[in-house]
């Protein structure tokens, strides 16, 4: 049995989408931020870093979004290339790019005081915005030129759900003029539109109140 430590519309939603798509039985342990769950010794035994997501597995606890997604792909043989697949190298490259470049820069847009201090939030948000735009352009170009089956409109994949949730935040959370317009990335938009229409995504969206188009129309 898998236990996901979760808060709605946080990064753990990415893992929940993958679990639903894979139809893996799991339980949700809701994290109480205000109650300080993340700082308790019990939680730190599961995730020593004190963040969500964390996933308890039969081989021990896991943390970090990309790590959990990769472990689930390898466990099920679904939603991404396996270790013997010729696409594995490209998939790993873009998964870690999404994790340490796109995800990290997105967090800097939402919490610019963390890398740069309270006095520098505007400059930090502007710099992170430029990074996010450049990185989304790379992803959009990659989809257009390589048409990878692990990030496509034809079949679901962990990377589609990962980028989908990041896009949801990037298109709704930052103040103007820093909000991202998904129309600038039409190939990515088509992939995310297909992902959000999946029954698994619709189940999660309904349960978490994410709307009927959680990735492409996060504000509606």
């Amino acid at each position: 049995m898998l236990t996901l430590h979760h808060a709605p519309d946080f990064a753990s939603t990415i893992i929940r989408l993958a679990l639903e798509e894979m139809e893996l039985p799991h339980t949700l342990a809701l994290v109480d931020f205000d109650g300080g769950t993340l700082a308790t010794p019990e939680y730190r035994r599961i995730n020593p870093i004190g963040l969500i997501p964390a996933l308890e597995t039969d081989t021990g606890p896991m943390f970090e979004t990309a790590a959990i997604l990769l472990w689930l792909v390898d466990r099920t043989g679904r939603l991404g290339p396996g270790v013997t697949d010729p696409d594995r190298g490209a998939f790993l490259s873009w998964l870690f790019f999404t994790s340490n470049a796109l995800h990290t820069a997105s967090l800097a847009m939402f919490y610019p005081h963390r890398p740069a201090g309270e006095a520098n939030t505007d400059a930090a948000r502007a710099a992170a915005h430029d990074q996010v735009m450049a990185r989304l352009s790379l992803i959009d170009s990659m989809i257009a030129t390589q048409a990878p089956r692990w990030l496509s409109a034809d079949q679901p994949g962990v990377l589609g759900y990962y980028i989908g949730v990041l896009i949801r935040w990037l298109t709704s959370l930052p103040p103007e003029p820093y909000r991202i317009d998904l129309a600038a990335f039409p190939h990515l938009r088509a992939v995310l539109a297909a992902h959000e229409a999946r029954p698994a995504a619709q189940r999660v969206a309904a349960d978490e109140g994410l709307g009927s188009h959680p990735f492409t129309k996060a504000n509606s």
């Binding site: 020593p48 870093i49 597995t57 081989t59 021990g60 606890p61 896991m62 943390f63 970090e64 979004t65 990309a66 790590a67 959990i68 990769l70 472990w71 390898d74 270790v83 010729p86 696409d87 594995r88 190298g89 490209a90 790993l92 490259s93 998964l95 870690f96 790019f97 994790s99 340490n100 470049a101 995800h103 990290t104 800097a108 610019p112 963390r114 890398p115 740069a116 201090g117 006095a119 520098n120 400059a123 930090a124 502007a126 710099a127 992170a128 790379l138 170009s141 990659m142």
Partner: protein, 223 residues
């Protein structure tokens, strides 16, 4: 199967260089010159569209991202950490990703503190990154002292030891403000793991080839 590593010594490609030497995979190196604009050429962008080091050509096509290449090499050759289905794979993946998102990103912020919010904020960015890296190192110290993982130990070379060795090396000697340079002294278990890693035969060969000095991880000496 010959692999091609696009390389600048003491950049992140040195991490991959260490891993390639450790596993004994056949590889060749293509040296790049940042100042000559080698990372911006169309030929290099065809290999890594990000225009960053490391990048590696494989028989299945080009790869980039340090953690991705380390994982792929381990899947193909072994010898760098737990593989799929092996005990502790879940923990290894978690901590590898943590190093990629945490210490690697944080160390880069200490080297280039002007990137996050411009020159005016660089001093504050460096100070915050210094604090963050010390927190991240404390998490690693606790991991080693409480779990004693084989894949980050003094007796077995591994991807994570080489990865941390290089990114912490940068934070130890590169920041302009000498009061905000990282030190391993508060983290003796981590220091011991890195001291062992810099002494493994593969590390000695790479240190020689890349000009990293005699103690590249624990006491980097700038040539």
């Amino acid at each position: 199967m010959t692999l091609t590593l696009y390389h600048i010594p003491d950049w992140a490609s040195s991490i991959i260089h260490l891993a390639l030497e450790e596993i004994g995979a056949p590889y060749q190196i293509v040296p790049l010159d940042y100042d000559a604009g080698d990372l911006s050429t169309p030929a290099f962008r065809a290999i890594n569209p990000l225009g960053l080091i490391p990048a590696m050509d494989t028989p299945d096509g080009p790869m980039f991202e340090t953690a991705a290449i380390l994982l792929w090499l381990n899947e193909c050759y072994g010898g760098l950490g737990p593989r799929q289905g092996e005990p502790d794979r879940a923990a290894f993946l978690s901590w590898l990703t943590f190093v990629s998102n945490g210490p690697h990103v944080t160390s880069m912020a200490m080297i280039h503190p002007e990137y996050a919010a411009g020159e005016a904020a660089a001093e504050e960015v460096l100070r915050l990154a210094f604090e963050a890296l010390n927190q991240q190192a404390a998490h690693l110290e606790t991991l080693i002292t409480t779990k004693a993982p084989v894949w980050l130990s003094t007796h077995t070379p591994g991807a994570l030891g080489y990865y941390l060795g290089i990114v912490l090396r940068w934070a130890i000697y590169m920041p302009h403000d000498s009061t905000l340079r990282f030190s391993l002294a508060p983290f003796p278990a981590l220091q011991a793991v890195l001291a062992a890693h810099e002494s493994f035969p593969a590390a000695l060969r790479v240190a020689e080839a890349d000009g990293l000095g005699p103690t590249p991880f624990t006491a980097p000496v700038v040539a």
